[in-house]
Symmetry: none
Subunit: 190 residues, 4 copies
DNA sequence: GATGAATGAGCTTTCATTCAT
DNA sequence: CATGAATGAAAGCTCATTCAT
């Protein structure tokens, strides 16, 4: 499971985290024109420190996706043990979209930078997909989601919702209306 | 000062078009690393010529969105006169998504380049929105679309579909399944 | 014979020359730590201008060897038509060594930079070798040079003399004494 | 401050040696792009350890020349006691050239790095020069070398031979032919 | 008007060197 | 004493933009 080299010295680990956080912040602020230098400044470390942890700009960007995905995967796991499978399914869907909206330009930037977010995501959470699948199957068994919904289109719709959410800063109300319609499409009995 | 600019000499107009086409092609090929020089080469004109027509890289990129939007708006107008308003509505929706899928990296690039695609789009087709609204209202009158659907969420869902389509090269089948579910959500009687 | 692309605009040609001269000067001054930026400054052009003419640092360095070799090859040609073949042979040998001495660190730098000076030299004067060979054969026919001397060792000794000359700033007297001994080895009747 | 430094603890001495050997190896492999880090890795010590022994990169490089020179000086001393002074003289000359050929890129690198090899060499073997001079004088007394040969030009020719040997990987045969001619020039009776 | 040579700010990346662990 | 994480100056190179031809 581990694979990770050695546990990293305490201060090194702290720097790694600071760099990742700074990178997210600066990317969110400056978009694609974010520079490694700006990230270093924001993180309060030297340029070289970034490159020690992430030998390449791309490595850093990939790490961001990976990190974020890991956090989402954990939520998915948690939710898949919930009582009401239908509620869990829709809650997770909403949760992901909200999360995406909060980090507006991230995906664009990553895509724009040549990072393949799908690959990076896979790396970050090899079982993210299966976690979602569990949520789906349970919700279908409970009759909360239409039987003919398959993973591919679910992921597509999920991705789409995330992408708009990222771009347009939705008001809560608009988000609820749009998701409401989408969820209607996902429910059985049509 | 001169209101709407003068009509442009024939060859100048031709150059403008060539540059725009080249720009779309090069952006599609090289993504974010596309350079003005590459575009000039592809267009078969000098670098200076591009800058005569588009004083700034951003101006060029904005013009691309604007142009494309104008073409879509024309289609919307055409369709809004169709016989079956419901069919017209869904056809336009599909049409836009297909169109988006064909130009995969465009939006990413534009977003990545700091161009605000919403603004550019608005500029390109001031009445795009109203054209879509006409399609919507007609479809609702015909009972083909649920009454409580409003423009904001329609546009949001439309945008979302376009964005996924751009990223993941959908198979026709997957696209139909995903849009099918979305359309179910848009229909009345839930 | 031409092969050269188009003839280069007047100012472009002038800049190319200025860059080459500046590069020689700066390399001679700063050795391997010479930077492209310093060369640009010395040449009085922008950094980009260098890169327009020489897409890579290595290309620039190669061009220096090539250029210099071309000049030497011209001298060799001139001398090979001289009256006294023996004198011509030794004069050229001396000439090359003196020339090398004047440009102290050049070869080191070029070698140090990964440029293969032999290859670059070949490129600069494809017939340099044959020009030297003519000088040698003529001198041998005139009985001024030993018959068993072949090109490989001649070139080796020539190169060696150049290399020391480059390093140690020889006094004229020392140079004459060292070359005198070398020339004694090259003469017949031993 | 303390005159000649104290004798170094056993393990410290071992580390010093390891670093020097690693440095030679890495320089030979990577040429000018060799880095202190790579040397540390090869030597199996930490970066800091190198800096403890050689406060500066230049100090390390200088130590390499110094070391190597010391070894050569020892050989010169040994040979100066040999039976046949002429043979000893030419043997040492050949020995040095062969040695140089084996360490091809070393001198280039050192020169390229701003180390003055002459100074470093002087430091390494203050009596190297006198050892060679002894060989020369003895050979001249034995009539194996021309009387008018003086140290400066001898050293120049020696250096030249070494330099070509370093660059062009001579075949044994070519080396013998070139040295043969050079030696003819060094012999008396012309 | 069109061309493309020139410019130079700014980018990513490397690496000698320092110093906390 | 040894280690290697951190630093940041400096390098090679790109590319939007300007302007002489």
């Amino acid at each position: 499971m581990s694979g990770e080299a050695r546990p990293l010295r305490a201060d090194a680990q702290r720097n790694r985290t600071r760099v990742l956080e700074a990178a997210e912040a600066v990317l969110a602020r400056d978009g694609l024109s974010a520079s490694m230098r700006a990230i270093a400044q924001k993180a309060g470390v030297g340029l070289g420190t970034i490159y020690r942890h992430f030998p390449t700009q791309e490595d850093l960007y990939r790490a961001i996706v990976t990190d974020r995905t890991r956090r989402l995967a954990e939520e998915a796991h948690t939710l898949s043990a919930a009582e009401d499978p239908g509620a869990a399914f829709f809650a997770f869907f909403t949760r992901i979209v909200v999360n995406a909206a909060r980090n507006k330009p991230m995906a664009d930037i990553l895509v724009g930078s040549g990072v393949d977010p799908k690959a990076a995501m896979a790396e970050g959470a090899p079982d993210m997909r299966s976690a979602i699948e569990t949520l789906l199957v349970n919700a279908q068994k409970a009759g909360a989601v239409r039987q003919d919904l398959r993973m591919p289109e679910l992921l597509a719709l999920l991705a789409g919702a995330c992408l708009v959410a990222e771009r347009n800063q939705w008001s809560d109300e608009l988000r609820d209306r749009a998701l409401g319609i989408l969820f209607d499409g996902l429910r059985p009995n049509h």
